[in-house]
């Protein structure tokens, strides 16, 4: 199939960007979206042009590196799918697609479709961990974890930190990401000691980074490739209110 892409090109953070139109020919339906961009980049390099910069690493949908807004939807229109796992069979010959980077003041553009998601790292640094004593490996099941808590923690821990939730939110809010991290640790026994301190510090950092507030619209959960649900935001609210008013 042949596609027309309108891609955001921006040489550097401080530079002005613009949309550039490209034709990509003979795209196989078996390619992933990123492989289709590899083909385009190959053409650009052969023609002596600068290839399009985009983030990627695992290409298996597990690392959270990739991500771009494909025709108005973060990671494209397939549910629960990262851009690297999006396959070209979902598109058809003659499609015109617009590719844009995540847009948020907390995610400055580095180049083209690559943004700096350091804000997420700083939210994690603020409290997204549990402190454990060093020493011998503890016995398995030394700390009993209720099955329900283990399941909830696993669901929340699936977040790969891709930033699609921020990109999709009309307020550029990071509540789904922060909620996933707070819920993941907050429902486990190991996370209890630092539970209050953690939520206060992570929310303070989240606001500090310049993300917007949450209006409970739910576009975040709808585009999340790991299907993190809005209930982690309710838990984040619950934990923050409890920690603040203790």
């Amino acid at each position: 199939m042949n596609l027309t892409l309108q891609v955001w090109r921006q040489p550097a953070s401080a530079a002005n960007g613009r949309f550039v139109t490209y034709q990509v020919r003979d795209v196989s339906p078996d390619m992933s979206f990123l492989e289709m961009l590899d083909v385009l980049n190959q053409q650009l390099i052969l023609a002596g042009d600068e290839p399009i910069a985009f983030d990627h690493d695992c290409r298996e949908g597990i690392c959270g590196s990739c991500g771009m807004v494909i025709d108005g939807i973060a990671h494209g229109g397939q549910r629960a799918t990262t851009a690297c796992q999006l396959h070209m069979r979902h598109f058809k010959d003659g499609d015109q697609l617009t590719l844009e980077p995540w847009r948020a003041s907390a995610f400055p553009i580095v180049k083209d479709l690559v943004v700096d998601r350091g804000a997420f790292d700083r939210i994690i640094q603020a409290g997204g961990y549990v402190s454990v004593s060093t020493g011998g490996v503890p016995d398995a099941n030394a700390i009993p974890v209720p099955k329900e808590s283990a399941d909830r923690a696993m669901d929340a821990a699936a977040c790969i930190g891709c930033g699609a939730c921020v990109a999709a939110c009309p307020n550029a809010s990071a509540m789904l990401f922060t909620g996933a991290k707070v819920a993941h640790l907050g429902v486990l026994p190991q996370g209890q000691v630092e539970r209050s301190r953690r939520v206060l510090a992570m929310v303070a950092q989240m606001d500090e980074e310049g993300f917007g507030g949450c209006t409970n619209i739910g576009e975040c959960a709808a585009v999340c490739p790991k299907e993190i649900k809005l209930d982690v935001i309710a838990q984040l609210n619950r934990d923050l209110l409890r920690a603040s008013l203790r």
Partner: protein, 226 residues
Amino acid sequence: MAAAAIALYRSSIGKKAVMAITGIIGYGFVIMHMVGNLKMFEGRDGFNHYAEFLRTVGEPAVPERTLLWIIRIVLLVAVTAHVTAAIQLTRQGVAGRPTGYRVKRRVQANFASLTLRWGGLALVLFLIYHLAHFTFGVAHHDFVRADPYHNVVSAFSNPAIVGVYLIAVAALAMHLFHGVWSMFQTLGLNRPSTDRLWRGLAVISALGLFAGFATVPLSVLGGLIR
């Protein structure tokens, strides 16, 4: 405690909690107000007695209009806090995305959730008009201070005024269609097991309030109340 409350308000979640609590106050008030309006069907004496009752309830233990003023002050504080937090959060949200997308498609968001801010603005404007209309009478063409029944009937004989009120109660219904569910979520009172309950309450609240508030103006216009 005061320091903790100020620190909480500084966070976006704290501001949202203020919106949710003041929203509950407003939600409770509009339900009582809607039920009170239906006393129009009890005729001139029934409705005016009810208005009189609101003025004199608690007498002689407390002076006339005590309850009325308590309600007014609580509502004024609640609306002021609600709107202040709304403006602060809106500014934070707008600053969060200085450059928009060229193409943006919504996946599941509905009209009500996306228009909360515009709906809120419409409600502020309506509130000012509504107070000038029925409370102070300055926006009323034939205002009689001691006869609220007359004021309602003479106002809603005009289809244009009925239209304005229908638009306003539709805006209120839209606001609460999202808002009632949202406030449980904001206060951390929503769980996977309660989600459908609060969504349902929001839908029923929106439909019920729209029907209840629309009944009186339409009944006057249709000649059922005269």
